[in-house]
Amino acid sequence: MSFQDVILILASALRLSTPLLLACLAGLYSERAGVFNIGLEGKMLAAAFAAAVVATLTSSAMLGLLGAIVIGIAFSMIHGFASITQRGNQIVSGVAINTLALGLTAVLGNAWYKEGGRTPPLPASVRFQPIELPFAAEARSIPILGPIYSDLLSGHYGFVYAALAAVPLTAFILQRTRFGLRLRAVGENPAAVDTAGVSVERMRYLALACCGALCGLAGAYMSTAQSASFVTEMTAGKGFIALAALIFAKWRPWGALGACLLFGLLDAVAIRLEGATLPLIGQVPVQAIQSLPYLLTVVLLAGFIGRAVPPKAGGVPYVKERR
């Protein structure tokens, strides 16, 4: 395997981990504020559908993205209404969000476009295009650094860079701003926040809005950048892998980056090694590599690689004056 191969695998890992990273950060906002979010999958799916539909209707990828964010937030608000205002079970309402998104996108897609739930393919002009970083072509001839810059870092969709930028941004917001402090506090000790005169409900809704917007980005990335149409169930479990990554990351932004890149890398390696024969091992068991993310998460949860402690007030609707 040459150096160029390694670069290509890493680039592939970067592309594969982007939707995971966006969803993982989305989950991070919501869970750090005390709302367990198993509905990431559904929010992404609904957003992907919205992006494709709006882009089809308006012939604008940007408006599609906007639509995806709006729908992502809308689904988050439904989740919030059920689990914050009505104090329903967060997990159950999250599952309901998934089911709702799955059913709604399939039914509406089929009713509007009659292609088995698929939306019409978008022409290139209505899709996001990869961004070439400046001097990418010229830099390619520089040894080592050239390919790293031109083939690994350059030539991705804007979403990839946005997801990467969202990591330090999220870390800054959580650790260095008043909003972040309150958000974390709401997830650890909502009563204290309440005593300080800050509305717990409002904080949780805001966190869910951030979550919905990020899910919107992830959805739009899938349906209007990586592919050119929405396909029923196209999120294919990414929301759940993102949750695994979130646990693996111990609910920290930089950890999320590491976990998602690792999962993306495992996926990319599995793609590349399929059918290949390695010395000593023989035919590579790709399924084994594909199951590693889940295996690692289980191992982590079992307490072998440090401890993953979820936010203390997670999963519990806040009720004033409960004794």
């Binding site: 290509l8 592939s12 592309r15 594969l16 939707p19 089929n110 009659k114 292609e115 088995g116 739930g117 698929r118 393919p121 290139a124 899938m222 990586q226 592919s227 050119a228 149409s229 396909v231 029923t232 169930e233 196209m234 294919a236 479990g237 990319a268 793609i271 590349r272 399929e274 059918g275 790709v286 399924q287 594909q290």
Partner: protein, 331 residues
């Protein structure tokens, strides 16, 4: 006069007067995806529509939207005396087994799977033969000598596609290199265009310039990625050339329309027989598509080679190995 009775109470079935008056009351149960899925179900729909147009005999139909409806729909049709009843897709196998046993006098036809009952006709396809032909075309169209295959869920049926394709590629260009990827091991692998695109990208990075996708919805992503990168894709099941005109080399066709049409016509003419029908090139059950969208891509030499291969298979001069026969591929 049109009676459209109370279908909704019994899972939304529509019967029409024409079929009630004629002796033959055929019915068809489409599977998930619906009759306009631009693929498998739509093929069947085209076939039964052709039957309706030619004979004037209307048929009853139902589109399954969740797995539990399959058995219900089949049983409802059988109970109402519909005959023959066509079940579309291997997913209906279990439901059909039950219902066909309950109604031994009703004739059932299942497309794309085998149910071994005295009143069931099972129609399957020699996908390996069709895949062989597109393999020949892929090898001849490739400039790099490297071609790819991307399957959906890793099941024997998809390996059968892959194996036929590989044999065709090697027959046309013995030194061609072939990359093969399966999308996954769960049903989600049929609906993951993002992963499909990434798989295609990975093969393109390694030099592949023609990629055959046998992967359902995942294949949409494969064809997209091939088109985006200026390479060629190959569609499957129905004619997918129109998805990216000029960027889809051809499509491996499963003539499910002929199968469904044949089942209805057979029942009408009294030639319908229970048992297994294995439709290959000789029976016009599989093939490859050539239309306005891809005629610029298929040179005369390529067409000649594919036609020659088809003739050789039909005459028995070339046998394409069926992966499902022994779970092995010679290549």
């Amino acid at each position: 006069m049109d009676i459209r009775p109370l279908g909704y109470a019994l899972a939304g079935v529509i019967l029409s007067a024409a079929s009630a008056m004629a002796q033959l009351k055929p019915a068809v149960v489409f599977d998930m995806g619906g009759k306009f899925d631009k693929s498998f179900n739509e093929g069947v729909f085209n076939g039964v529509e052709r039957f309706k147009k030619e004979t004037g005999i209307d048929y009853a139909e139902f589109e399954v939207t969740n797995p539990s409806q399959r058995e219900q729909a089949l049983r409802n049709f059988a109970r109402r005396g519909n005959d023959p009843i066509v079940a579309v897709g291997f997913a209906q196998e279990d439901a059909l087994k039950k219902v066909a046993a309950e109604f031994p006098k009703t004739r059932f036809t299942i497309i794309d799977s085998v149910v071994d009952l005295p009143n069931v006709q099972s129609i399957v396809f020699k996908e390996h033969e069709g895949s062989y032909l597109v393999g020949v075309l892929a090898a001849l169209a490739s400039k790099t000598g490297k071609v790819g295959f991307i399957g959906g869920m890793d099941i024997p049926l998809i390996r059968k596609f892959a194996c036929g394709y590989a044999q065709g590629v090697k027959a046309a260009k013995p030194n061609a290199e072939l990359f093969q990827n399966m999308t996954g091991t769960t049903p989600a692998a049929w609906r993951d265009p993002v992963k499909g695109g990434e798989l295609a990208k990975s093969q393109i990075d390694r030099g592949a310039d023609v990629i055959y996708a046998a992967a359902g919805g995942t294949g949409i992503g494969v064809l997209q990625a091939a088109a985006d990168n200026g390479k060629l894709g190959i569609g499957v099941d129905s004619n997918q050339n129109h998805l990216h005109p000029g960027k889809v080399l051809t499509s491996m066709l499963k003539r499910v329309d002929n199968a469904a049409y044949g089942a209805f016509t057979g029942a009408k003419n009294g030639t319908w027989k229970a048992g297994m029908l294995n439709l290959g090139l000789a029976e016009d059950g599989v093939g490859w598509s050539l239309d306005n969208d891809n005629k610029a891509l298929i040179t005369d030499d390529m067409k000649k080679a594919a036609d020659q291969a088809a003739a050789d298979i039909k005459s028995g001069k070339v046998t394409v190995h069926d992966y499902m026969a022994d779970s092995k591929c010679p290549i």
